[in-house]
Amino acid sequence: MAEDQKLAIFRGYWKFKSNVHKIWGVLILLTLVTAVEVILGIIKPEVLVHSHFLGMKWLNWIFIILTIVKAYYIAWDFMHLRDEKTSLRRIIVWTGVFLISYMVFILLFEADYVHNVLKEGFIAWNF
């Protein structure tokens, strides 16, 4: 951890007096986000379940985006990437982001293709 710690989140909108305060603040944020996810998961609003964007339910998009938000705060504040040098942070984050996005793209595309083959091709798989 670098000696000087950055004690604000939300680009400086939420400032904290000390590192310990910041930790509790981030806990509140993470708990809140998880609570929203769980509540949405239990009630499953009709509007979000039956409308789609890029072939996926809006509800699922919301879940995935909220997950990435949580991942951001865990990495930035708990793993204190916020206090590391910019270059170290970029090496860590972008390596993962590039490789994982590529993998997600290529495999899900292929899976969708396989799905269509099973559905429309002359292959009996459900007999």
């Binding site: 997950t67 708990f78 292929e110 799905h115």
Partner: protein, 324 residues
């Protein structure tokens, strides 16, 4: 420029003790590990995504699977796993507090926070063991068809799920569990299911209120329920009774779901277990004053990075197995 160039005198560059990117050797290495391990987990989760997209119109609905809470009867999807998630986040918080206390050289505080972190990890891993046990034991029971698909049962009037024991007939039969003492040429046999295929089929035929639900999802994203006539016809395709889930059969639906559930949450659970062991070692080192003598608590920070990573992975596992 400050971020990439080391600012020590030229002759010291190769003498060791340098900290490129402002990170010590140990910290750099734990980051190497974390980046590569996150790619491993990403690979597993994308595999899950592949299976799910491949069987997009017949995948398991997670809310129907993980509905149990210890000591409570009834169906409460989500609550228990939300509790597990909270426990893990909480133990991440105590970990980061331990790192902070270590940074300020406060031995007593660090010790307590490490202790709480270990405790949180143990509660989490215990919960996961319970979750596995419930998943393996099964809920309602189902039949498997020739094509390896699962058919489940529900009441035609109320639409409630029916367990095999609700309608299966008891037919006296000779079939007993084959045990070792009954033969030299012994082929292992798992425990027989509570009901034979015949008993279930006769039970369905006898009770006009029982209908079959198949894996296929309808346009509302729910499992398709067959009419009574179709249900009876569907019974001809069945080959066996399935209760619970393992790596070969899965009463909840697609077997790939069970395989990947065991594999991914198991691999994560393994990471948590390793994390607990590392935390315990660091806890004792803090207690013995090892880091006090060393002059810094960097080891707490390094094991903390690993622990947060485990939490980070769980956040994704939680989303992809329970929410989406």
């Amino acid at each position: 420029m400050d971020s990439t160039v080391t600012t020590v005198a030229e002759e010291n560059v190769w003498d060791g003790g340098n900290k490129p990117l402002g990170a010590s050797y140990g910290k750099m290495m734990i980051w190497f590990f974390i980046v590569s391990d996150s790619l491993t987990f990403a690979g597993f989760l994308v595999t899950y995504g592949f299976a799910r997209f491949k069987f997009a119109d017949s995948w398991i609905i997670a809310d129907e699977v993980f509905t149990h809470v210890p000591f409570f009867h009834g169906s409460y999807p989500m609550y228990y796993v939300a509790f597990m998630t909270f426990i893990l986040i909480m133990s991440s918080v105590t970990m980061v507090l331990a790192v902070d206390a270590g940074h300020k050289m406060q031995k007593k505080k660090t010790t307590w926070y490490m202790f709480l972190t270990v405790l949180g990890g143990l509660i989490f891993i215990g919960s996961q063991a319970w979750e596995w046990a419930t998943f393996i034991k099964g809920d309602y029971g189902a039949l498997e068809t020739k094509g390896g698909r699962i058919i489940q049962f529900q009441a035609a009037d109320t639409g409630e799920r029916l367990a095999l024991k609700d309608f299966a007939k008891t037919i006296p039969s000779e079939r007993v569990n084959h045990e070792r003492r009954n033969g030299v040429w012994y082929y292992g046999e798992k425990e027989l299911p509570s009901y034979s295929l015949n008993e279930v089929i006769e039970g369905v035929k006898a009770d006009p209120n029982v209908v079959v639900r198949v894996e296929k999802l309808n346009e509302r994203g729910e499992k398709t329920v067959l009419s009574r006539e179709e249900s009876l016809k569907k019974l001809d395709e069945t080959v066996g009774v399935v209760e619970g889930a393992n790596l070969i059969h899965n009463e909840y639906g697609n077997r790939l779901f069970a395989d990947l559930f065991f594999f991914i949450t198991g691999f994560h659970g393994f990471h948590v277990s390793v994390g607990i062991i590392l935390n315990i070692i660091v806890f004792f080192n803090v207690l013995l004053g090892t880091y006090e003598k060393r002059g810094h608590y960097e080891m707490v920070e390094k094991v903390g990075l690993y622990w947060h990573f485990v939490d980070l992975v769980w956040v994704f596992v939680f989303t992809f197995f329970y929410l989406v």
